[in-house]
Structures are given as structure tokens and as C-alpha cells.
Amino acid sequence: MFTAQQYVKAATLEEAYTLNQKRNNVVIGGGCWMKMNHRRYQTLIDLSGLGLDIIEETPEEFVLGAMVTLRQMETDEALKNTFGNGFYEMTRHIVGVQFRNCATLGGSLYSRFGFSDILTFLLALDCEVELAHAGRLPLAEYAQMPYDRDILAKVHILKNGRRAAYESFRQTATDIPVLTCAASVLNDTLRVVVGARPMRAICMEFPFPETEEAMEEICRKVQETVSFGSNLRGSGEYRRRLAGVLCRRAICSLKEDAVC
């Protein structure tokens, strides 16, 4: 467990950002990941007083505050009505309900974990992150950036009719995934995202496959193009095989599902 000397519940995002520029200060989301380190912090910066724990819907987009919990995304009816089961599928295997009531969207995206279910699925949608200092930028760009001292305030998800599906594979229930895969379609273009490779998630686009052969060809391409690594959860070769299976399942559910 980390230690800290001070706790500041920020009154404004600006205040949080300024405090976060000091090397020994840190923003705390749910704290579920941070608690596993043994660092000595000067000040913990709490964003929970900034109204960032809500999911807003406008005609054009959803705006999710950084302090929205994984459980909120899992159970939100408006997200479900617009994106089908994707938000539920991306969250439901993560540890347990109690954990998901604590862990936040901000902490999850800032961390950009290779194994992240959340990053994998959100990359399949059209998302922008809103940072306190750098402003708005595409999630795909943020996912590649090195860690810095900016604060993730919100995530904007475009409501443009994109349909998406999510698949993951775990060795045991609630474990970190061996492989994650999301697929989405907009205007006949298919986007495939593969995560937990075990490196950070990667996106590819293809014309949407109308035939079984075209779908198999895409799955083969994903297997051939993406690089997969080995760790204690699985070898690179095992992940390559899994990628074909999960990719196929995700595309199939897009074909079957005209609603989500």
C-alpha cells in the first residue's frame, strides 16, 4: 500500500491539474490499482468533488466523467440502448461487483494497460478523451501516448450508429484476460481491435465481410498481422490462435445483431 501525507479534494479541474504537476503528487481514481504499489506520495488529488461521476447523453454523444465507475458503465441503460451489450461485456468479468463499484474509467484509461478490457472495447467506438490541459484528442492517439501529468476529465463517445461487439478470453473467471477482441461496423467498414496481446490494444480496419470466406480471410489477416507476445497467461502462439476465434465470434455477433 502506498503512503501519502496530504489529501486534497480538488475544487476545480485547474486546481487538480496544478497540483498534479508536482512529481510526488498523484491523482487517485478508485485506488484499486494504486493500492498495489508501495510509493510514498506527498498529496493525493481527489477528483470526486468535480461532478465527474456521471454519464450524460446528448443527441450527438455520450459524455462519461473520469470518475464514472466500471459498474456504472456495466449497468447504464442508455449505454445499453445505444451500444447493445458491449459495455456490459467489457466490464462484467473484471474481478467482481464490489471492485467494479470502486474502479474508475479515468484510472483504467490513464493506465492504458495492455490487458485492458476497457481500452479494447472503447477503441472500437468513436471516442475522444478530454484532458484538463491538452483538451480533446482521439482515444486511439491517447492510447499510444507516453504517461504524462495531464488529467483525464471526460470521455466523449460519438452516437453515429456504429454497432460494436466485445469478446474476451480468460483462463478462469474474473482473472485478467488472455486476449480481448472488439469488432464494430460503420458505413460498411469493419474495425477490429485486439488487446491483451499482452501489449496495448491495436486497431485495424477492413471492408465489412459479406461472405463466410471474406470473414475467414479477415480473421487470418488479423492473426498474421498482429504481433502477439508470451507471458504467464499464455504463449504468443496460443494468443494468435485465440485471436482468430474471438475475431470470428465478434464479427458473427455483428452480423446477427442489427439492433446494438
Binding site: Y7, I28, G30, K35, N101
Partner: protein
């Protein structure tokens, strides 16, 4: 720093260190049902309710609970004893180490889900690890408890 937290219906104000986790704060307040298991957010043993929602007190800072209401097993003794009897009937409690967290999460589920299916029960309780039972006896106990609740207050 000063926090004010309602624990099992009673208000407390205390000066705490910023890195104190809720689990340790609650134990300082005499809530010894709240136990530390894995301390890596995996086992669910430290489950308490924050404003009615189940959370992991090993991962949640006491500072965050400022202004909120926390419920531990001590605050739900009657319900816990009622469900505990169903657990005992099915041999769903062996060493009993996981029971406080498990019972707290079952009671949270009962409040949150109406007539949950077996799959929903399993999913809701998947964050409560048990080394002894293999989960089947726990599942039977939960199902019997839910059926009993339906009977007494449909």
C-alpha cells in the same frame, strides 16, 4: 484530516491520515467483521456497503467515505443471521473465513437485483472467493434464501 462518516447508522468524526484504508478505519471503530484477506482487491472478504452499494474496503480510502454512510455486518445482524442459517444448512460455511464478505455481498445483491437467475447470482457473487466450499453449497444456500424471502414477502 477530519472526516465524518456514518457507520451502521451512527455518526463519527475523526482525524485520520490520508492513506488510511476504510477497512482499517472500520476496525478501529470496532467493526471486526471487516477482515483483510488478499489485500489485492481479489477476494471480496473486506466487502462493506457504501451508501448501499458493495465495495472493497481494503481498496477504498477512508477519506473518500467522508460524508457517506457505511454499513458493515454489525449493522445487518438480523439479516446476516437469517441468511447464515441457510448457509449452514447447506454446508456452505466450512472454515468460515470468507463468510463476512460473502454475506455482505449477498445482502447487497438482494437489494439490487429482483428475482435474479442462477447466472446473475453467480455473476454478482463472483468477486467473493472461497477456498473450501467449491461454491455449490453457497449457491444452493442463496437460492433457498431467495425462495424463502419470496414466500414470506412476495
Amino acid at each position: 484530516m477530519l472526516i465524518t462518516v456514518t457507520i451502521n447508522g451512527k455518526k463519527y468524526s475523526d482525524d485520520i491520515t490520508p492513506d488510511l484504508v476504510l477497512l482499517d478505519y472500520l476496525r478501529q471503530k470496532g467493526c471486526y467483521s471487516v477482515k483483510r484477506g488478499c489485500e489485492t482487491s481479489n477476494c471480496g472478504l473486506c466487502t462493506v456497503h457504501l451508501d448501499g452499494k458493495p465495495i472493497l474496503s481494503c481498496s477504498y480510502l477512508a477519506a473518500r467515505a467522508d460524508g457517506h454512510a457505511v454499513t458493515t455486518l454489525e449493522g445487518l445482524q438480523e439479516e446476516a443471521a437469517e441468511f447464515g442459517a441457510f448457509l449452514a444448512d447447506q454446508g456452505g460455511e466450512q472454515c468460515g473465513f470468507c463468510s463476512p464478505g460473502f454475506i455482505m455481498n449477498v445482502l447487497a445483491m438482494v437489494r439490487e437485483l429482483k428475482n435474479p437467475t442462477e447466472a446473475e447470482i453467480q455473476e454478482y457473487l463472483s468477486g467473493n472467493l472461497c477456498r473450501c466450499t467449491g461454491y455449490q453449497s453457497q449457491l444452493r444456500a442463496v437460492k433457498n434464501y431467495l425462495a424463502h424471502k419470496q414466500e414470506v414477502q412476495p
